[in-house]
């Protein structure tokens, strides 16, 4: 498994990194003694890594597996024989044989003092904090038996809580200045909204010019939330409004659930990562009082059809009509973090973005039109909630243009964490719930919709449909079990080429779009997949430079590392291993579906048959299922 995040850190200052050691003459392996255990490690291994290999626990706080090593909190200090000072285990690369002790008097004293010092500036009450019981600071206080505030404790808040963003709320009174958010934003995501201002205990994490987060170039990915050890960062939580809607008998409250939350929500109930609770969750949602539970996968299938059609039309324009206008490669648009990233950093590429809305938003406008008509409900009385792994979805549903149904298409975006909270508030033991199905008329979904949750999933779903609809063959003829392995995995950027040797007839769904596919014969469809905006940046820069990525026809971008399963609304903590476990759950669910291709979804055939009757890319679908974007640029007023 390759997670090309940490190695790629490029923008955080060197002070927040373990530097590469410059020398060919160093021995290749060194022997280290840690608390009387012996281990041989390659030069450059940190004390922390070595200790973990022999099963010795060293506490950490500013360290995070996804991030470059800052060495600033100092909670991980250990004693190295012969050294006057303690060393930070996470930030000390071993270059010579050393003897390490991890819990001497000095070490225990220093760690306890460091905690006491953090608490002396930490304003917050655990029982009134969303991270209660899932807070690294609290856990350490417990681990070290903190039972009083040795160096005092703030009695009043000092900072105003920044609630300006639709997605992320910042409460700097709970911040312990571990700078994980800074490193996440600048290194993992290459956005760079957050920085440290001032020195000494006046330091504070700020946005550029200390502006409200809602006004800066934050892409709302929420990756900083997932890596914050404390309650200083959290998502903008609409549960009160959702409960109020449920409690209001005049409202018809429907919830759609995306694939990733199912794969993650178990973690909030003490399960190992990677145990999906899809159908248990359906029951729990009904018990909470939602009137209908729909599967976002239906809308994901719809997205594939719309986005795929758009791609084929762009290719047709370019290849047959010799029109230079269609912007290629076409970029996916289902990740609202990525969309905002592009709007800020590469606004000149907006024409490349697929105009198709994300599944969440498509579903919103379909529910408030088609579903409302079918069931004769006044759309004004429908409240649409979207359960998403994502904090950017909260921003997305509040974009002013997302009202194509005549109403706010999606009223509330709810994260996995927030739903878990609602479920626990309702006294429901989620893992013990009986299973139940999604509601009609969107009850059927396909495996293609499910894999939207993992990086490469949108591409795989699109390819499955393109292969069958265009080439007239079965995906299984090319890929065993229809698993398109080359686009899977966690490599930061992945490429695949699909030579189109022969084409089939134009299927009924796409009739009227083109006369035949023969113009595609002999062509090679080139696609790429990127996850995490740091990788997206690489792809974009490569396109600008006319490199390999510029030759692609279709590129999937996900703002979050790992794709939606690593989204900013997913359970905390996150790590490469946790994301991998969630991905496994998602691919297992895909494999278990009877129907695994979007175009075979009977609900899709049905909606084009009876509602979107002018077909994919038609007028009505353009009104309801497509959108436009805003060139934002990097400059803030």
């Amino acid at each position: 498994m390759s997670h090309s995040f940490k190695q790629d850190c490029s923008r955080a200052p060197t002070s927040l990194r373990v530097q590469k050691i410059n020398s060919p003459t160093l021995q290749v392996a060194v022997t280290v003694h840690i608390d009387d255990r012996e281990i041989e490690v390659p030069v450059g291994t940190t004390i922390l890594e070595a200790a973990r290999q022999v099963g010795i626990h060293i506490p950490t706080l500013c360290f995070h597996e996804d991030l470059c090593v800052a060495g600033v909190c100092r909670i991980c200090v250990v004693e190295v024989e012969g050294h006057r000072n303690l060393e930070a285990a996470c930030a000390y690369p071993i270059t010579a044989p050393i003897t390490v002790r991890t819990h001497t008097r000095k070490v225990r004293m220093a760690r306890r003092h460091i905690l006491d010092l953090m608490l002396s500036e930490h304003y917050g009450e655990c029982y009134a904090c969303f991270r209660n019981n899932n807070c690294e600071l609290q856990a350490l206080a417990q681990e070290y038996g903190v039972d009083f505030f040795r160096f005092g404790h703030p009695e009043k808040p000092r900072y105003e809580i920044d609630r300006s963003s639709h997605s992320v709320i910042r409460d700097m009174d709970k911040c312990i200045l571990c700078r994980r958010c800074v490193r996440t934003c600048i290194d993992l995501q290459e956005v760079g909204v957050l920085e440290v201002d001032k020195r000494s205990n006046q330091s504070k994490i700020i946005t550029f010019g200390d502006k409200p987060l809602g006004d800066v170039i934050c892409i709302n990915c929420g990756q900083c939330i997932n890596r914050c050890p404390t309650g200083a960062l959290r998502a903008n939580d609409p549960t009160d409004e959702v409960w109020a809607a449920i409690d209001d008998p005049s409202k018809h409250v429907v919830i759609q659930t995306a694939p990733s939350p199912r794969a993650g929500i178990g973690e909030c109930f003490g399960l190992e990562p990677g145990v999906p609770l899809t159908f248990e969750m359906n029951t729990a949602l009904k018990e909470c009082g939602f009137d209908k539970v729909f599967d976002t996968n239906f809308a994901a299938d719809l997205t594939i059809i719309e986005e795929g059609t758009e791609l084929l039309l762009r290719l047709h324009k370019a290849l047959v009509e010799q029109d230079a206008a269609p912007a290629l490669p076409q970029f996916t648009s289902c990740s609202p973090g990525w969309v905002k990233y592009l709007e800020h950093f590469y606004p000149e590429y907006i024409p490349n973005l697929s105009s198709a809305k994300s599944p969440q938003q498509m579903f919103g406008s379909v529910i408030k039109t088609y579903y409302a008509q079918l069931n004769d409900i006044d759309p004004q009385d429908i409240v649409t909630v979207a359960l998403m792994p994502c904090s950017a979805k909260k921003f997305e549903c509040n974009r002013p243009e997302m009202c194509d149904s005549g109403f706010k298409d999606i009223d509330y975006g709810l994260t996995t964490r927030e739903l878990a909270q609602m479920i626990s508030e309702a006294g429901i033991d989620l893992p013990a719930m009986p299973k139940s199905d999604f509601d009609d008329p969107f009850g059927t979904a396909t495996g293609s919709g499910v894999i939207f949750g993992a990086t490469g999933g949108v591409m795989e779903a699109a390819l499955r449909s393109v292969i069958e609809l265009v080439c007239g063959i079965k995906v299984e003829d090319l890929f065993e079990h229809a698993d398109i392995i080359p686009v899977r995995g966690f490599e930061g950027i992945r490429f695949m080429e699909l030579p189109i040797k022969k084409t089939g007839p134009v299927p009924e769904l796409l009739a009227g779009l083109v006369d035949d596919w023969t113009w595609l014969e002999g062509a090679t469809l080139k696609v790429a997949v990127a996850h995490g905006t740091a990788n997206a940046k690489k792809v974009m820069d490569d396109i600008k430079a006319g490199g390999r990525c510029s030759e692609c026809h279709f590129i999937e971008f996900m703002a979050c590392p790992g794709g939606c399963l690593g989204g900013g609304g997913q359970p905390i903590p996150t790590s490469p291993a946790i994301r991998e476990a969630r991905a496994k759950a998602i691919y297992a669910e895909d494999a278990a579906y009877e129907i695994r291709k979007s175009h075979e979804n009977p609900a899709i055939t049905k909606i084009y048959g009876e509602f979107l009757t002018d077909g994919p890319g038609g007028l009505l679908s353009h009104k309801l299922l497509h959108t436009q974007y805003t060139p934002r640029g990097k400059y803030i007023v």
Partner: protein
């Protein structure tokens, strides 16, 4: 009374250019051996053997290497680098050039304290002159294959930027914050290249050693602290200013020379140093005893030691870069402790807690600033407990 008289200093007697000439006649390793034989240790405060540092940098493979002169001089009570740069900058530039030859670097950078901007024009003029006379530039002094030039970069007023890795961060355009070590700058320094960072005075002595020979330098001083050193003397004494003394001089001897015999304490090594009470004036100023970058602050009998401590802690509370917990919060807590002492409401138990906290700061901070910032507090509490405890809150 300011009594700095640079004309009597050794530096005034050393003819520049001769040092470089003799260095260029030697192989780089011979130059480093000469420095090793002299016993020269860094004059910036930490006292690291200069030749060892240079050897590391010379042995590390690198396409480019750098020589950095630390002219950030931010330690309270230190002003000897300013005097050297004003009157003897040629010796410093020459020392840097010798360093370039010794480690195989072709570029030197002077990191000049922001407050010394007024010196920049003078220094640029000197550099220009050196370029004109072939002491800098391509094929220095006609030595084919040895190119060396020096650039001046300005600091922006942060004390922590005197710490060598923060200095390098600052040179690279980042916030001045210390890096994780190892690797050290000699391995991975400016732009990831092997870099030697030395104090202004260290470079000046290098030139002198190449002119006058390592034996001359080695014979002065003590067993482990060789040579001469400039001291910035200030406070309650008749003659404040910059003086040259051999290392190993006792505080008593020094006080006699500067007219501070009735001092009740002397702060050796600036804010980061130690406060030495009169009973210990027999101690020597040397790396093995009281180490200093040159700052000597004399406190007369009228000084309130709690105010002295407060002054230092206020400095650190402002100057901590804020990266690491022990220093960021620790200095603030120590300063609050001093304010409590002032108010007469700091219990013995809490004072003990603060002293232990000081120990943690020394042990666990990320860089030398946090590691040394509690020194003054701890030594004043140790030696002047009676004076600082039991205060009665001032009447309103």
């Amino acid at each position: 009374m300011k009594t700095t008289d640079t004309s009597k200093m050794t530096f005034a007697q050393v003819e520049s250019q001769r040092g470089l000439e003799s260095a260029l006649k030697m192989q780089p390793d011979e130059v480093r051996r000469t420095i090793a034989d002299s016993g020269l240790k860094g004059r910036g405060g930490a006292g690291f053997p200069t030749s060892t540092k240079w050897n590391f940098a010379a042995e590390t493979v690198g396409d480019l290497k750098y020589v950095v002169c630390n002219a950030d001089e931010g330690e309270p009570g230190t002003f000897k680098d300013r005097v050297i740069l004003t009157d003897f900058s040629d010796l410093v530039f020459e020392g840097m050039t010798i360093g370039g030859h010794a480690i195989g670097a072709s570029k030197g950078i002077v990191y000049l304290r922001g407050e010394y901007t007024y010196l920049r024009q003078l220094l640029e003029g000197k550099l220009e002159e050196r370029r004109r006379t072939g002491l800098l530039g391509k094929n220095v002094l006609g030595t084919s294959g040895f190119d060396f030039d020096i650039e001046i970069r300005m600091g922006a007023g942060a004390y922590v930027c005197g710490e060598e890795t923060a200095l390098i961060e600052s040179l690279e355009g980042q916030r001045g914050e210390p890096r994780n070590r190892p690797p050290f700058p000699v391995n991975t320094g400016f732009m990831g290249r092997p870099t030697i960072v030395n104090n202004v005075e260290t470079f000046a002595w290098v030139t002198c050693i190449l002119v006058k020979g390592s034996k001359w330098f080695e014979k002065i001083g003590t067993e482990t602290s060789h040579g001469l050193k400039l001291f910035s003397v200030s406070g309650d004494c008749r003659a404040s200013g910059v003086f040259e003394f051999p290392l190993g001089i006792t505080i008593k001897e020094l006080l006699k020379k500067v007219g501070g015999e009735n001092a009740k304490a002397v702060q050796v090594g600036g804010a980061a140093g130690h406060c030495v009470p009169a009973s210990e004036f027999g101690r020597a100023i040397a790396f093995e005893d009281l180490s200093t970058g040159g700052s000597i602050i004399v406190f007369g009998p009228g000084r309130d030691m709690l105010h002295v401590a407060q002054n230092f802690m206020e400095f650190f509370k402002d100057e901590s870069c804020g990266q690491c917990t022990p220093c960021r919060e620790g200095n603030a807590r120590l300063l609050e402790g001093i304010e409590m002492l002032e108010q007469g409401n700091c219990s013995m138990k809490y004072l003990r807690d603060l002293c232990r906290l000081g120990e943690t700061m020394q042990l666990a901070s990320k860089c030398g600033l946090g590691q040394s910032s509690p020194n003054a507090f701890l030594s004043i509490v140790e030696h002047f407990k009676d004076e600082i405890m039991g205060r009665i809150p001032a009447a309103c």
